[in-house]
Amino acid sequence: MSEEKYLLEVEHLKQYFPVKEGFSKVPLKAVDDVSFAIKPGETLGLVGESGCGKTTVGRTLLRLYQPTAGRITFDGEVLFDSEKKIDVDMQLYRKKMQMVFQDPYSSLDPRMTVEDIIGEPLDVHKLYSSKAERRDKILSLMETVGLNAEHAMRYAHEFSGGQRQRIGIARALAVNPKFIVCDEPVSALDVSIQAQVVNMFEELQEKLGIAYLFIAHDLLVVRHISDRIAVMYLGHIMEIADSDELNENPIHPYTHSLLSAVPIPDPNIARQSKRIILEGDVPSPLKMPSGCPFRTRCPYAQEDCAKVMPALKEVSPGHSVACHHIEDISRIKKGVLLN
């Protein structure tokens, strides 16, 4: 499986933002040494709590931010390499990589009609030869995302949240991308609408073969849509595995606590299950703990955790974990289960 060609490869991506502290500038390490890869037509879920750098990863991938270091390869072409000083003009790749935004209320220009919003990428990349063709394309895009053609001349504020998100998706689809970063596309929507939109993402993937990086903090949604899931904590990827594997056999203590926080619909089972509640707060990304960033809240932390940041290690095919004490933890876990 790993022999397959990847659509997008990210290696050791770092994104630091300079933050003023008094007179000196301190780097805020929003994303620190993140590596992952996405195959064509695949969905990689990216989960983590607020402020862990999920959105930054997505935006840096699309080069909306200038990455501090690392290497991004898309479709066999190196887009950015800090060592070889490669920094490609993104204009060509904007047609292949797109983004769907979190907030459907602020991601659409209130002064533009739906037709103009969806038509903007067509205008920028000159994807039509006549006005009639532009209109046809817009109408067929609207149909794809389940919007009524009569809505073309309306303004964004006349739509509901779910419809607005569909407009945002149509805009991303307008350039026929191979890869879409979905930045928490459903977290601002009602649960019933979430299901509609998530299902639409899946249908579009089947029909058009688009790969997604699906960013969310809702593990249930991510589990539903993703082929693989990466768990982030404070700018690092802690664990990455196939969706089912991560669900059934989580290894990293942070993943454990995340999974235990997923609400269970059946109250009888919910009462029996034990929630792992992490102690303490998330450390400030300005004052990262030495070594493993999770050690301040990890129930299994030992002395050596403070020294070195653990690298991602493959424990089973396709399942990698960044932790020094994988064996100890699984032993303790088994002990708990035996008791």
């Binding site: 909306l64 047609k95 935004f101 659409l108 990428p121």
Partner: protein, 360 residues
């Protein structure tokens, strides 16, 4: 769980569907279905704002007053046969009784002339001034000059302010820092002093170079006032626009446009500026009265338009000498300044209420 048959309570008002079969129901036709679609009229931002503006009686009243004033100053010079710099004569002869006439009065010679020929002379609506010039036409020209100065100065301020403010706000960082420090420096310069110094210098420099142009009639004082407006008064506008753009550029739709690959210039002109248009319109409306006011008090100080052209401020200044005997000559330009400034301020407020959706 099996779907259990629930026994119907005899008090229940629910329709018992078991009594009906498929034959009892008729499918809705397409026409009937369409009746269910309730489509509100799609409104644009502009239509919506204008609708709200129309409901504001103060703003509508201001528009009426302004339109009336503009119509009068456009039409009146074509009807009134006198000129603003013309000393009234009868058959080429001056008349001592011609000066300081009261409302709608004629001089002795004019009366004699009318009696002799039976011809009706155009009345002096506001009388005449100390030199025997028709005061009504002088007020008309004064209003023209004042309004023109106000509008031109406001447009200049707005244009410079938009360009400067949007560049500083959009690019941010060091560009913003340097540009805004320049604004701070300009902000601290005393504007009156610079206008006075500038007009003195320009008088020397431009002596005789402008003969025959419109600028010559306005005089070097006015030119220096325009220059000073262009140099100094845009700073508050630039600050305002920059602030607006700083908030708007953080919206996700700007990021979405970047993600699409839209160029910086296009993002500025098609996404950011249209979204601060309401603020621009409103401040322009409020900028005009401030420019008119500046022009008026400069003219009042004797730094305004050059004689014989009048402006509302210079008319008031001239009338100061005869304030006790001919108070009307001071009151008329003062009232017109008040009307214009008040109407524009109220209109600006009305525009803000109608277009600034943040207040909703």
């Amino acid at each position: 769980m099996e779907n259990k048959e629930v026994k119907k309570s005899f008090l229940s008002a629910q329709v018992d569907l078991s009594k009906f079969n498929a034959g009892n129901f008729e499918k809705a036709t397409d026409d009937e279905k369409r009746q269910q679609d309730v489509m509100g009229e799609s409104t644009t931002f502009l239509k919506d704002g204008l609708r709200r503006l129309r409901k504001n009686p103060l703003a509508m009243g201001s528009i009426v007053v302004l339109v009336a004033i503009i119509l009068v100053i456009l039409v009146a010079p074509h009807i009134v046969p006198y000129s603003y710099d013309e000393v009234i004569t009868v058959n080429g002869q001056r008349d001592k009784t011609m000066t300081n006439l009261s409302f709608m009065c004629y001089s002795d010679k004019e009366l004699a002339y009318m009696e002799e020929t039976g011809e009706d002379l155009f009345p002096h609506i506001f009388g005449t001034d100390g030199l025997g010039r028709d005061y009504f036409i002088r007020v008309i020209y004064g209003t023209r000059v004042s309004l023109a100065v106000g509008i031109v100065a406001a447009i200049m301020v707005v244009l410079i302010g938009i360009v400067y403010g949007s560049v500083a706000g959009y690019f941010g960082g060091k560009v913003d820092l340097i540009m805004m420090r320049i604004v701070d420096i300009i902000y601290s310069l005393p504007d009156m002093l610079i206008i006075i110094l500038m007009s003195v210098v320009l008088k020397e420099v431009l002596q005789g170079k402008l003969v025959g142009t419109v600028l010559d009639r306005l005089g070097t004082n006015m030119i220096s006032m325009f220059i000073v407006f262009g140099l100094l008064y845009w700073v508050s506008m630039a600050r305002l626009i920059r602030g607006q753009i700083l908030t708007i550029k953080n919206n996700e739709y700007v990021l979405a446009a970047k993600c699409i690959g839209t160029s910086n210039r296009k993002i500025l002109t098609s996404h950011i500026l249209p979204n601060c248009l309401s603020v621009i319109i409103i401040t322009t409306a409020l900028q005009i009265p401030s420019a008119i006011f500046t022009e008026s008090y400069l003219s009042f100080l004797g730094l305004g338009v050059s004689i014989p052209l009048s402006s509302l401020g210079s008319l008031a200044n001239d009338a100061r000498a005869g304030m006790q005997s001919y108070p009307a000559r001071l009151v008329i330009p003062a009232v017109i300044i008040c009307l214009i400034v008040l109407a524009l301020n109220l209109l600006g407020d009305g525009l803000r209420d109608a277009f600034d959706t943040k207040l909703d």
